[in-house]
């Protein structure tokens, strides 16, 4: 501590250690918080096609098009340890060939500071809803779920599943639009 450099070194290292302790404190204050919020999903239109699928082993697969409404108030999820939320809408169903299928249809990143109240109408799915075969036609029960991933400033990234679900049957024939 005799020279300026020695004092500067000591001061800087102490400040960094204190900053690390504060960051840990920030993590501890939000580690056990429940990040679930109710969300409202409503499907307005479903259309089914049977198209050439070049990514699969068979010639033609089912392709679904969904138009949906989404509303949720995400304000309680944001706190001082949340940087952004990664939302995604996934469809879950079972077919004769596979007992469990999960397909992500749409996603969105909500940064802190942006409007946390979601009120989206007539959204089209962002990603292709391909089935592994022809299992979507006349499927009785396809469940749409909105989930999200919380990206924190410090700590683990919790994956909050299933806050609001809606189940719907798919049309029986191709190229027909079913409205709800």
């Amino acid at each position: 501590m005799n020279t300026v450099l020695s004092r500067a070194n000591s001061l800087f290292a102490f400040s960094l250690s204190v900053m690390a302790a504060l960051t840990f404190g920030c993590f501890v204050t939000t580690a056990f918080k429940d990040r679930r919020v109710p969300a409202d999903i409503h499907v307005s239109k479903v259309m089914l096609k049977n198209v050439d699928d070049f990514t699969g082993p068979r010639e033609r697969s089912d392709l679904g098009f969904i138009t949906f409404d989404l509303s949720a108030d995400l304000q309680p999820v944001f706190d001082w340890n949340v940087k952004q939320l990664f939302l995604y809408l996934s469809a879950e169903y079972s077919t004769k060939s596979n007992s469990l299928n999960q397909v992500v249809l749409w996603d969105k990143i909500v940064l802190r500071g942006e409007n946390p109240k979601l009120n989206l109408r007539d959204m089209k799915s962002k990603y292709f809803f391909f089935d592994d075969g022809n299992g979507l036609r006349a499927n009785k029960n396809i469940t749409l779920t909105l989930s999200w991933n919380v990206v924190p400033n410090a700590g683990i990234l919790p994956l909050v599943a299933g806050s609001g679900q809606v189940s719907l049957p798919f049309p029986d024939a191709y190229e027909t639009t079913k409205s709800y």
Binding site: M1, N2, T3, V4, R7, A8, S10, L11, F12, F14, S15, V18, M19, A21, L22, G25, C26, T29, F78, D79, W80, N81, N153
Partner: protein, 95 residues
């Protein structure tokens, strides 16, 4: 111009910057918790760091209040008498 601190001054400088950083850390943590933004916690700690830099890095006179009191310089005659035993030692070694 003297730029080194004495021992009591070094201890005082260390206590000062540790105290300032810790106080700014507590204030920053509470303020960030209240307004729900961790960025402000970081800003307040950085302000504390800057204040500590100004207060402890330059060699202010308050850190040089207790200089070490060295013994007075011994005059030359006793210096000659201390050289003679060394010379006799050297002669003995040459044998």
């Amino acid at each position: 111009m003297p730029t080194k601190l004495d021992y009591k001054g070094q201890k005082l400088a260390e206590q000062i910057f540790q105290g300032i950083i810790l106080i700014s850390a507590v204030i920053g943590f509470v303020y960030g918790l209240i307004i729900e933004q961790f960025g402000w916690t970081v800003y307040i700690v950085l302000v504390g760091f800057a204040v500590s830099c100004v207060l402890t890095l330059p060699p202010w006179p308050m850190y040089r209040k207790n200089p070490l009191s060295w013994q007075p310089v011994i005059p030359e005659t006793s210096g000659e008498s201390s050289q003679k035993p060394q010379e006799t030692l050297k002669k003995k070694k040459h044998k």
